[in-house]
């Protein structure tokens, strides 16, 4: 075969792929036959399909784990993946954090800060309509923020609204006043609870009325949600399909079966154990992207025996992070460094040395701690994170090898978050991560934080955090964050062995998929940005 024929053939296949006539798998196979490398063929395919542009129409179906019949449409009460994805269909926030970690303007057209970063002005987009026909105003935005921050608030976003001291509206501007400077405020406004509702949703919080690309058509909590396209949606570059259906499929095997039999186009939370097998099935591929979410073992720094930093260090040296990533995540993740942040965060200092498994150092610190040799109890449950029990068993083995008497106590999953997490001194847990370092540290490492689940209370750390928050110079901020990261790493109560990837199953019929590390299923926007081919 000459190069010329190959090129023609490649172009032909690219046209076919662009028209959606052949699947990605078939395309890759034929390219392979022409001697094109898989990486190159993948690029060709993406080019071809993107060049053809989005196809309009069709019904996109998602099988999502993490829905209950107790779910509500009220954005303030959303806490699991199904409500998260449902909110993202009908609602929108002022700002999104895009796949590169940058701010993306949504219902705010622009945002400006005063020089001291204490006053923030959001210009609200004009010409946007709610699903009930009411035009969006800055007043609606302010009422929404009020509902999430007033004294009757039961919102999951209440914690991040705390720094706000005043809110007012001037024309189409929504102006926020803060008690201390915060350079990251726009990122906080991207929190998924803060979906803008007409009149803030005061009259009916669970009405399911927003400005998003899809309107709620049917709501059956714990079963399914139907959406149809919002004909008046302001952003013509999004919302390609006519209908979206979200099925709540909590059983992993059932979810994978639904994807394989073509009943759904997208599934979240593919079990790492089966990901490689699933990827080999025809008509679909498994996508993974590293994110800010991490699995942790947390010690209370103010409770015996974890009061002693040498004991904490001993346990940190006694865990084999690489092994856990291999065995528990099957490679779908990356090692942690006992800090709650990684390279997916802006201003992360990659030069901080990686902590390794070192049984000798562990034994040394253990001896120095003077611990009496009584068993150290680690509480764990399957709900702490997928594979938590196995991870804890591996930890127990490596710790015992270093002479540390680590013992496991299995707790029931039901009630774990109220009875064990943030209550018992040493347990397994997870964090979903936050878009910026400031938010992660203020949520769980500030002395006064409600979710300070390691009881890490250090005035010098708090001072650094506030200083970094008001620092508008990126280099200085980065240095401050680096210093804070080192403090948590060397003196905190966090053992962070791994950051987990988002692992998702995508049908070959879905086009336009991009890797988005900020949240599940392209940060909830898969249905906005992807389209379906025949």
């Amino acid at each position: 075969m000459t190069g010329k024929i190959d090129q023609n053939h490649i172009d032909y296949l690219k046209v076919r792929a662009g028209m959606g006539r052949i699947s990605r798998r078939e395309f890759m196979g034929r390219m392979g036959a022409l001697g094109v490398s898989a990486a190159m063929a993948g690029t060709f395919y993406a080019q071809a399909v993107h060049a053809a542009g989005p196809v309009k129409g069709g019904m996109m179906r998602m099988g999502v784990s993490g829905g209950e019949s107790t779910n509500s449409l009220d954005p303030a009460l959303a806490a699991s993946p199904v409500p998260y994805n449902v909110l993202n269909q009908f609602g929108e926030t002022l700002i999104n954090v895009d796949e590169n970690g940058e701010l993306e303007m949504r219902l705010a057209e622009s945002v400006e800060a005063s020089a001291d970063a204490k006053t923030w002005m959001f210009k609200i987009r004009s010409g946007v309509e709610f699903h009930n026909g009411k035009p969006l105003t800055a007043e609606d935005v302010m009422r929404t923020m009020e509902r999430h921050s007033n004294e009757d608030s039961k919102s999951g976003a209440l914690g991040i609204m705390r720094g706000i001291t005043s809110m007012k509206v001037e024309g189409d501007m929504f102006i926020v006043g803060l008690d201390t400077a915060n350079a990251d405020l726009p990122f906080l406004m991207g929190d998924y609870h803060l979906m803008i509702q007409p009149d803030g949703g005061f009259d009916n919080p669970a009405a399911g009325i927003g400005t998003g690309p899809y309107m709620v058509e049917a709501e059956e909590p714990g079963v399914r949600y139907m959406f149809k396209k919002n004909p008046n949606y302001w952003d013509s570059s999004r919302g390609h399909v006519d209908e979206v259906e979200i099925l709540s499929i909590n059983d992993t095997t059932a979810r994978m079966g639904a994807l394989q039999s073509g009943q759904v186009h997208l599934v979240n939370r593919v079990d790492p154990k089966v990901a490689a097998l699933l990827d080999r099935a025809p008509g679909l591929s498994v996508k993974n992207v590293g994110g800010p979410g991490h699995y942790v073992f947390i010690m209370h720094c103010d409770t015996e025996p974890f009061l002693n930093n040498d004991l904490r260090l001993a346990l940190k040296y006694a865990i084999d992070r690489e092994d856990l990533v291999d065995k528990v995540l099957r490679g779908y993740g990356s090692v942690g460094n006992d800090m709650p942040v990684n390279a997916s965060y802006p201003l992360f200092d990659a030069s901080i040395p990686q902590r390794e498994y070192d049984p000798e150092k562990a034994a040394e610190h253990y001896a120095k701690s003077g611990h009496d040799g009584s068993p150290i109890i680690l509480r764990v449950s399957d709900v702490a994170f997928p594979g938590a029990v196995e991870a804890a068993q591996l930890f127990q083995q490596t710790a015992n090898a270093a002479g540390i008497p680590l013992e496991l106590k299995r707790e029931p999953g039901d009630g774990y978050w109220s009875e064990v997490w943030n209550v018992q001194p040493f347990c397994a847990s997870y964090w979903g991560g936050r878009p910026v370092q400031d938010q992660m540290y203020s949520t769980a490492y500030l002395s006064s934080a409600d979710w300070n689940d390691t009881r890490f209370k250090r005035e010098d750390f708090d001072a650094l955090l506030l200083q970094a928050r008001g620092e508008l110079d990126a280099d200085k901020r980065k240095a401050l964050y680096s210093e804070m990261g080192m403090m948590v790493r060397d003196e905190g109560g966090l053992i962070c062995p791994m950051f987990n990837d988002f692992v998702e199953g995508v049908s070959d019929k879905v086009q336009g998929w991009v890797a988005d590390p900020t949240g599940e299923l392209m940060s909830g926007t898969a249905t906005h940005k992807c389209w379906l081919t025949a």
């Binding site: 099988g63 209950e68 019949s69 107790t70 779910n71 509500s72 449409l73 009220d74 009460l77 806490a79 699991s80 004294e151 009757d152 608030s153 039961k154 919102s155 999951g156 209440l158 914690g159 669970a206 049917a218 059956e220 909590p221 714990g222 079963v223 399914r224 099925l247 709540s248 499929i249 909590n250 059983d251 095997t253 059932a254 079966g257 639904a258 394989q260 039999s261 009943q263 759904v264 039901d414 009630g415 978050w417 109220s418 009875e419 997490w421 409600d450 979710w451």
Partner: protein, 318 residues
């Protein structure tokens, strides 16, 4: 008054008392569980203020006894209230779930009950020969395999490999009866396999017991055919134990199929109840518990009454 009527009204009164007792037990049980509804809703993202606000709004600060009686008076007036977690009307969402559960149970029963009895009769007719052994072997195997495994096997072979039926059995009002039946084909298959053995074995045992009687021998000596003897003469006298087992299995089809619902993503009562128990949503748990208890009590009552009616000595007491 006819003694049967007296008996039935006694049973109904007793059943109502049992329901009340069940509601107390369910309420006490959900109180004992750790955590409350506010904590369960907000989960890991709960701040103390948000918790306090939610508790006040849901009326969780009232003493438990007050809450129980508030619920009881509402329920007696036919008002089951609204779910604490999502504010939906309990009667209507429960009604839809119950309808789905009944729909699945009905079709499973329509296939399983006649099939089980027929297989039981067949096993008696050919007892200790290969058809008997084959029927026993297959049904015992299917009851011994956990139902979720049968479910997964059917999903893998029938839905994924062959593509005959859908692996997700979600049904909704906009579907025609044919579409609904096609959607529930796999869960119905699993349920039939699971309940078949129990009913079939009981039919076989009860009839074999009767077959020892002298009058059966008479019927055989009269020259009646083997199957005729079993069906016309032995079966009517074996009805009471068979009905008992059938009712137990029907009750199981209504209240015990949560695993099958999860595997096939079927929107029935089981998953609905489990979700609300894990969120400590007491009014919904109460309502579901009452429905389940009523189903059990009702079906057992039917079994008792049928047993009495089928026995002339109990039907015409001296």
């Amino acid at each position: 008054m006819h003694p049967i009527l007296i008996l039935v009204s006694q049973r109904v009164a007793l059943g109502l008392f049992l329901l009340l007792a069940a509601s107390v037990l369910i309420f006490a049980g959900t109180m004992i569980l750790p955590g409350d509804v506010a904590q369960s809703i907000l989960g890991q993202s709960a701040t103390p203020e948000a918790l306090a606000n939610l508790r006040a709004e849901l009326g969780l600060n009232d003493p438990p006894v007050t809450r129980y009686f508030n619920w009881l008076f509402g329920a007696l007036q036919g008002d089951l209230g609204t779910a604490l977690t999502n504010g939906q009307d309990i009667a209507s969402s429960l009604g839809r779930r119950l309808g789905n559960t009944m729909f699945l149970a009905f079709w499973a029963a329509v296939i399983a009950v006649p099939l089980a009895i027929f297989l039981g009769l067949l096993a008696v007719r050919y007892r200790n020969r290969w058809p008997d052994k084959l029927i026993s072997g297959v049904t015992l195997a299917s009851i011994s395999i956990p139902e979720f495994l049968i479910g997964y096997l059917l999903v893998y072979f029938v839905a994924v490999k062959l593509g005959w039926f859908s692996s997700v059995s979600m049904i909704n009002d906009s579907m025609s009866l044919g579409e609904k039946l096609s959607a529930i084909a796999l869960p119905v298959g699993v349920l039939v396999l699971v309940v078949l053995a129990h009913m079939m074995r009981m039919t076989r045992a009860a009839i074999l017991n009767v077959m020892q009687s002298a009058y059966i021998e008479t019927a055989e000596l009269k020259g009646l055919s083997g199957f005729n003897v079993i069906f016309r003469h032995a079966f009517p006298n074996a009805i009471a134990p068979i009905v008992n087992v059938v009712m137990l299995n029907l009750a199981y089809l209504v209240v015990g199929v949560v695993v099958v619902e999860v595997v096939f993503v079927y929107p029935g009562m089981g998953q609905y109840l489990v979700d609300h128990v894990s969120k400590r949503d007491v009014p919904v748990v109460q309502a579901c518990g009452l429905v389940f208890a009523a189903v059990y009590i009702g079906l057992n009552m039917v079994a008792d009454i049928v047993a009495i009616l089928s026995n002339p000595r109990l039907r015409h007491p001296k």
